[in-house]
Amino acid sequence: MTTATDNTTARRADKKPATMAQALQRAMRDAMAEDPTVHVLGEDVGTLGGVFRVTDGLAKEFGEDRCTDTPLAEAGILGTAVGMAMYGLRPVVEMQFDAFAYPAFEQLISHVSKMRNRTRGAMAMPIVVRVPYGGGIGGVEHHSDSSEAYYMATPGLKVVTPATVEDAYGLLREAIACDDPVVFLEPKRLYWSKSDWSPESPAPVEPIGKAVVRRAGRSATLITYGPSVPVCLEAAEAAREEGWDLEVVDLRSLVPFDDETVCASVRRTGRAVVVHESSGFGGPGGEIAARVTERCFHHLEAPVLRVAGFDIPYPPPMLEKHHLPGVDRVLDAVARLQWEAGH
C-alpha cells in the first residue's frame, strides 16, 4: 500500500485548499465548458455571482445567455427551466434560499418530477434545482429551512446533498449529467468549509445513490448527511472517551437511498442513530429508521433512534444553537442505545 500512499501524497502537493462554494462553482464551470446545453439561471446568479458566490464568474466566462439573472419569481424560473429542458437544454436552477424554493413547488411536484413518467419516457427533465439549505449561519426567519422531507416524499425526484468539498464537486457534476431531475441541497453552513482539493484533478466520485462510510466503527452507526456529517464525525471522536467506537455513514443521496451500505453497517454494529437538522416529526429520519428496522430487525439491539431539529419553526439567529442537533445530543442518543442489553 506504500505506492498508493505515495501517490496520494504526490497528488496532494499540487492541491490548495478550496471551499465547498468554490468546488460547486467549478463543477458548473466544467460542466458548462464541456456541454453547451448546460445553462444556469436564477436570481442574482449572473453579475453578482449569487448571494453565496457559487456562480461567480460564470456569466463573465459563458455570457449572460448561459448564466442568466432572471426576473424575481421562482415558479417562473423553474417553469421556464422545464420549457428549456423540453427543447433539449440542461438547466441548472438556483433557488436563493430554501424557503424561497416554495413558490416553485407546484412546478416541481406537478411537472418536473412527473414529466418523464407521464410521457412514457419521451420527455426527460434533466434539471438540477440547487437549494442552499439548513441553518447555522445566523440567518433571519425563512433563511434556514431544512426542506428535504418535501422532496424525498416526491417520486420522480432525486435528492442529493454533499457534505465534503470533494463530493460537492463530484455530486454536482453527476447531478448535471443526470437525465433525471435532481434537487441538489447545499448545506449553507458548509459553503466555506475547506479541503485540500484541487479542481484540476477532481477525485472520482461514485454515481448518485451511493452512501459512504466516513468513519469506520464497531459500536453503533450514525446515519447522517449534509450539514450533520461534521457534527457526527466530531461526536464519534468524542465518543471514544466513553468507550464507543462509532461508525459514521454519510448518505450523500437521500433519493435513491443506499439501503445496502446503510444496512451493512447497521447489521455490523447492531445499533443506529439517525442524525439530521430537519425537524424530527415527518422528517427524513422516520423513513430511514423505518427502512433500516424493516431490513435489520433481528440485528438490532435497540430501536433506531433519531436526533433531529425540534418540531418547531426554525428559530431566530440568536437561538438557533438550541435547535441544531450538536455533539451532545448525538452522544445522549448513543447513550440511550440500551448498552446494558448486550453486545
Binding site: 426576473p71 417562473g76 410521457t119 419521451a122
Partner: protein, 374 residues
C-alpha cells in the same frame, strides 16, 4: 405665491431620477376597445383559407360531439368540450408551422388534433389508460396541461431556448380566462417580455372558469389589457370569428418569429357545454345566455358569411359534414376497442434507470398480476 416667485427658487432644480428613463410608450400596447372582427366587415377573404377553416370547424364540432358521446358511453373518463370555441382551437393549430410548438390545456384536445395529432393519442389522457398519449417532441405539442397556467412558463422557456439556439421556432400557449388569475400566468408573461421570447399567449375567454363568471375573475377593462403591464402588445379578438382569430394569431406568430417578442391575445368566446361532462352548468347560468351565444356560433357565422359571399354552397357544406362524419366514425371505432393496459409501465419511466427500490415494487406488482392471471 408659486415656486418661481420665491427667492432662490431658480437655483433649485430637482434632478430627474437618473434610473428613470422614459420607457416604452404604452399606447401601442393597448388593445382595441372592441374585439377585432373580420366577418361582417367586408374585409377580403382568402377562399382557400376560408374553406379550410370551415372544414376544420365542422370537423372540430363533430369531434367534440363524438368525444362527449364517448364519455357518456364510458369510453372516456372525462371530456372538457371545446364546443363553441372551435374557431380558437382550429386557428391555433393552423397559425403554427410544423417546427413551432403548441402548449395546450386540458380543454385543447381539438387544437392538438387539428394540428395533426392522432385523435386516440390526443384522447389518451381523458380515456385514462395513460397520462400523455403521444411523444411531445415528435409532434411539438406539450402534454395537455391540467394544473392551470403552469404550461405558460414552459412555453416561454422553450421559445427562449429555441431563440438562443438560433432556431426560428414560435411557441403558442393556450390558457383560459380563469387561468389568467394564477401567479404562473403573471410570471410567464413577465419572463417572456423581459427575454423577448418568441411566444404567443392565447387566452380563450369563454366566460367561465367552471362556475365562476369573468366578473368574479377580473375587474380589468379586458384580459388583453394585462399585456400593458408586461410591456407587450395586447390584442382583443372575437373568438368566434375564425378568420379574425386566424389573422390575429398569424400576425402575432409572425411578429414573434421575426424577433418582435411576445403578444397576449384575448379571444372572446363561449363554452357552450358544461365545464366537463361531470359538471352541471344549469347551477350557474341560464339558458337565455347560452341561446344568445348560439346566434354567435363560430360555424354559423362563417357559414353564413361564406354562403352569402358565394364562397360556399350546399355541396361544400355537405362535403364538410360528410368528412366530419367519416372522422367521427373512425374515432368511434378506434375508441370502442379496449385500450391495451400496461400496468408495468407505472414503474418504467419514473427515472431514467430504475432504482432498486422501484425494482422491488415492480416485482411485487408483477407477481400480483401473474397470480391474478392464473
Amino acid at each position: 405665491m408659486t415656486v418661481q416667485e420665491l427667492p432662490g427658487a431658480a437655483a433649485y432644480r430637482p434632478t430627474p431620477p437618473p434610473a428613470w428613463r422614459p420607457r416604452t410608450d404604452p399606447a401601442p400596447l393597448l388593445p382595441d376597445p372592441e374585439p377585432y372582427r373580420v366577418l361582417g366587415t367586408g374585409a377580403e377573404l382568402d377562399r382557400a383559407l376560408m374553406l379550410k377553416l370551415y372544414a376544420e370547424l365542422v370537423r372540430g364540432r363533430r369531434f367534440n360531439a363524438q368525444a362527449t358521446a364517448l364519455t357518456k358511453q364510458g369510453r372516456l373518463a372525462v371530456y372538457p368540450s371545446s364546443t363553441g370555441q372551435e374557431a380558437c382551437e382550429v386557428a391555433a393549430a393552423l397559425a403554427l408551422e410544423e417546427r413551432d410548438w403548441l402548449f395546450p390545456s386540458y380543454r385543447d384536445t381539438l387544437a392538438a388534433v387539428a394540428r395533426g395529432l392522432d385523435p386516440v393519442e390526443a384522447l389518451t389522457l381523458l380515456r385514462g389508460d395513460w397520462h400523455t398519449g403521444y411523444d411531445p417532441r415528435r409532434h411539438r405539442i406539450a402534454p395537455l396541461c391540467t394544473p392551470l397556467a403552469t404550461q405558460l412558463p414552459h412555453a416561454v422557456g422553450l421559445a427562449h431556448a429555441a431563440r438562443l439556439k438560433g432556431d426560428d421556432v414560435v411557441a403558442l400557449a393556450l390558457v383560459g380566462d380563469g387561468g389568467t388569475s394564477e401567479g404562473d400566468f403573471h410570471e410567464a408573461l413577465n419572463f417572456a417580455a423581459v427575454w423577448q421570447a418568441p411566444v404567443v399567449f392565447l387566452v380563450q375567454n369563454n366566460g367561465f372558469a367552471i362556475s365562476v363568471p369573468l366578473a368574479k375573475q377580473t375587474a380589468a377593462p379586458s384580459l388583453a389589457h394585462k399585456a400593458v403591464g408586461y410591456g407587450m402588445p395586447g390584442r382583443l379578438v372575437d373568438g368566434n370569428d375564425a378568420p379574425a382569430v386566424h389573422q390575429v394569431l398569424g400576425e402575432a406568430v409572425a411578429r414573434a418569429r421575426r424577433g418582435g417578442g411576445p403578444t397576449l391575445i384575448e379571444a372572446v368566446t363561449y363554452r357552450m357545454e358544461a365545464h366537463t361532462n361531470a359538471d352541471d352548468a344549469t347551477r350557474y347560468r341560464g339558458s337565455a345566455e347560452v341561446d344568445a351565444w348560439r346566434d354567435h356560433d363560430p360555424i354559423r357565422l362563417l357559414e353564413g358569411e361564406l354562403t352569402a359571399r358565394g364562397l360556399l354552397d350546399e355541396d361544400g357544406i355537405r362535403a364538410a359534414a360528410e368528412a366530419a362524419e367519416t372522422m367521427a366514425a373512425a374515432l368511434r371505432e378506434q375508441m370502442n376497442t379496449e385500450p391495451s393496459l400496461a400496468p408495468m409501465d407505472l414503474f418504467a419511466e419514473v427515472y431514467a434507470e430504475q432504482s432498486g427500490q422501484l425494482r422491488e415494487q415492480a416485482a411485487q406488482l408483477r407477481a400480483e398480476l401473474e397470480a391474478e392471471a392464473r
